[in-house]
Point group: D2
Chain length 264, copies 4
């Protein structure tokens, strides 16, 4: 199934003094996402540096902005071909066979303290057959037990907090899914993207689990079907791929996102 | 200054049932470390898989061990040429110029919650001139304020804990150094190694900070001069490069390390 | 020195369904505070229950409010005679002599994890001579190192958080002062009150330390001189004496406080 | 049902320098516990001070011990009459009717962060009918989900930790029970005691919940039937009633407890 989306964002900042931004807002280039057209505009016009991280292909843009207003406009036309999934063939791979390069995604990270969730993960999901269904069960648990409450968490909130406090936003739902997976020896990582028909529009976060021989996407918020997500970045957790990491005295003035489906 | 060390370890495990080990005990191959001879022996003899991580060149060995006793012997003869350092030329690089590939080491990780130490780092070190001296001041602060108490911390202890509780072991000292550096926008990472004349012998941990155009090593425990450390691994924090990550019902029976200086 | 204050508050709630309130807004009756006149009014008129806790004399009012709007008005005219303090005679009392009834205020509580601050307290204040001056030094440390930022903390923030994060509001300043004192074996407790010329007007929190043979008040925010505080409650920490503890679906609509000095 | 127990303890300390001990090892005097004989012996002989806390009647003993060895022997013969319980009549009392003096046991404390368990308690127990059965369900949950692992926790471990990490000792089981109860507006407090046939012998901890018009004891470890517990102390949590709180450089050398049932 192929879809063509037009997506983008407009970010407006008040820069009180010379500051550096690392943006991760460009659509990822993957075998399932083909970028047809793309444009990044800075206002006032200024130079920027692009960097593609060689392992995960995350696309970072660095902007060194002078004092004043900074407006960032990004827009892309993307063909997304979301592959069919056959859950029955998505098996968990034991550590004995797991590609060593994905072990990184088994280890705890800032927001996913899987080392503290071992017994809980075992209690809740240990008896289930391994594979796609077990990761789906993790997502179901999160969906059923956590409440989505805008503003209930902040940039320090981690999976260890939310697994008990049971509320948060998409980022927290994803972190908890990742932590549970890792606690069960299923590699898992954080992904961000533009999401079609997400309301209110915002950068979305969900997670990927490694099953069989590749990564599969899961969204414990159930807000966005996988085929309606246009991927931006991947990382250990939100610390790696904030849409904007800012060094300097900067205030965000406004943020707008949009995703449109191009009719065939 | 060149030194030749003979170093190694013997690890003995009781494997209650088929288990997988990821070892990170092999000496790193770097421009400053030349491995003259090296040998890894498993008893009983069994196959293993080597993997060199492409970015940091960490050398991992995977062993899938059957039930029974497992003895791992590693031994290497290494020529270490520790470069002269001119602290006055080791400047901090502002985010505006920092190579984008090192930004990863500015972000918080499982054991280094730099996002929670921003004000404290600023209070303690914000007024110092940036550069080697400032990282040295961080190490001095840790050395003077933290007490080295074997067994006082565990695998869940993080920099946020120890910055107040003020005791720990080498791993905790390193995590706190990293967290302070990142809070000041100095990239920092965790390193492990064999240490000459460390007493009692053990795997040692310290940290590297990125200054000027390369990484410099710092040891806030003051237990090991940099030229007496034979590097093994590098990572975001201890989660990435445990000397042994074990999947299965395994008990360690004994661990021995040794480092000898080969007389010229 | 005697002053007469007129103080009070107006609290307006939207009660979505029958709810119970425990208020702790009535001025404390102590040897230094004489209540000249006092009035509590509930609108719409409804019954309430008063309770004076026998040890600390905290005055609680329970209101079982029906669905609808609830307006609470409290007003008191209070003569406050703040005693002279001779810091040189305010000595710390060692546990060997301390009245056993104050040991409770040496133990850690929800927001004052003194058990985790032992080394830090020793490092910062261990070399100072015991007594009033040492508690004053704790207040100075807090004042100089913490930033008062409205809205930066919430009802879960504890001294262990703020001692590193270094920002908070009066309640957090007080909790940290208490935690440091207890870590040094100085009994300390949380106090609340109406504060003259506090801007913006709000319930104020500070703390008391036990020295010599009685409790002395300290305000690490430096916002309110002790003689301008009209005490309400005392407790182990904020958990004990919230101005309003609410059981039920209630929203606060507005809160007003006032304190006037009656001219002689 | 009446039973007569002989219980006691022998505590041996090495006191490196003059130190103060607060012991809470004396059997409580309650309407259900009658002390027939009792003896406290200090070796070498030295004076001590007894203090009975007026609200909870906890019996504290303060000893100011000189440098050297300190041996504490306590022994009591106690008639325990454990009342029959009719669970069907043990109702939860809503905050609207609860005696105000027990509200203290609704608030969070050092080891029982009930404020962070609100949603989890509601999710797990919110649909159950209130009363004895609901507290019993909390105990069942703890018993079924937590693993009793000696040495797995320490004096800083709290209910917020163990509710996810799912292991601990009797003290942790009790703290979690208390936290769940408070989160559901059921007053709950920590109790300690001598326990008949506990193996290995040790001070035991469990908790009480306030139902109907009095406190009922619950033991989520299922190690000790209520009628085999001889109560010592009650408090908000373990911070209040450690069997020994020590001020000074002291090492425990040995601890022995015994409880015998006197045959009729």
């Amino acid at each position: 199934m192929k879809k063509i989306f037009l997506c983008g964002c407009q970010l407006v900042y008040d820069v009180a003094d010379e500051s550096t931004f690392i943006f991760n807002i460009s659509v990822a280039k993957t075998e399932h996402q083909r970028i047809l057209t793309e444009r990044l505009t800075l206002t006032p016009p200024m130079g920027y540096q692009e960097y593609v991280e060689p392992i995960l292909n995350n696309r970072f843009v660095r902007v060194n902005a002078p004092q004043g207003k900074l407006e960032v406009n990004y827009e892309a036309q993307v063909m997304v071909s979301y592959p069919d999934i056959e859950p029955d063939y998505c098996l968990e791979v034991p550590p004995a066979q797991l590609p060593i390069e994905v072990f990184n995604y088994l280890y705890p990270s800032r927001y996913c303290e899987s080392d503290r969730l071992l017994r809980l993960a075992e209690k809740e999901f240990g008896d289930l057959p391994g594979g796609y269904g077990r990761v789906q069960a993790i997502c179901d648990w999160i969906y059923e037990n956590m409440e989505y409450v805008a503003g209930s968490t902040n940039s320090q909130t981690s999976a260890f907090d939310t697994v008990t406090e049971l509320c948060g936003v998409c980022r927290d739902f994803a972190h908890l899914g990742i932590a549970f997976c890792r606690a069960l020896n299923i590699p898992a990582r954080f992904v961000t993207g533009y999401a079609y028909q997400l309301n209110p529009p915002d950068f979305h976060a969900c997670f990927e689990a490694f099953l069989g021989d590749r990564w599969y996407i899961f969204d414990p918020t159930r807000l966005v079907p996988p085929e309606d997500l246009i991927l931006i970045g991947k990382g250990r957790d939100a610390a790696d791929i904030a849409f904007a990491t800012i060094f300097g005295p900067v205030t965000m003035e406004s943020m707008n996102l949009w995703v449109d489906l191009k009719q065939p």
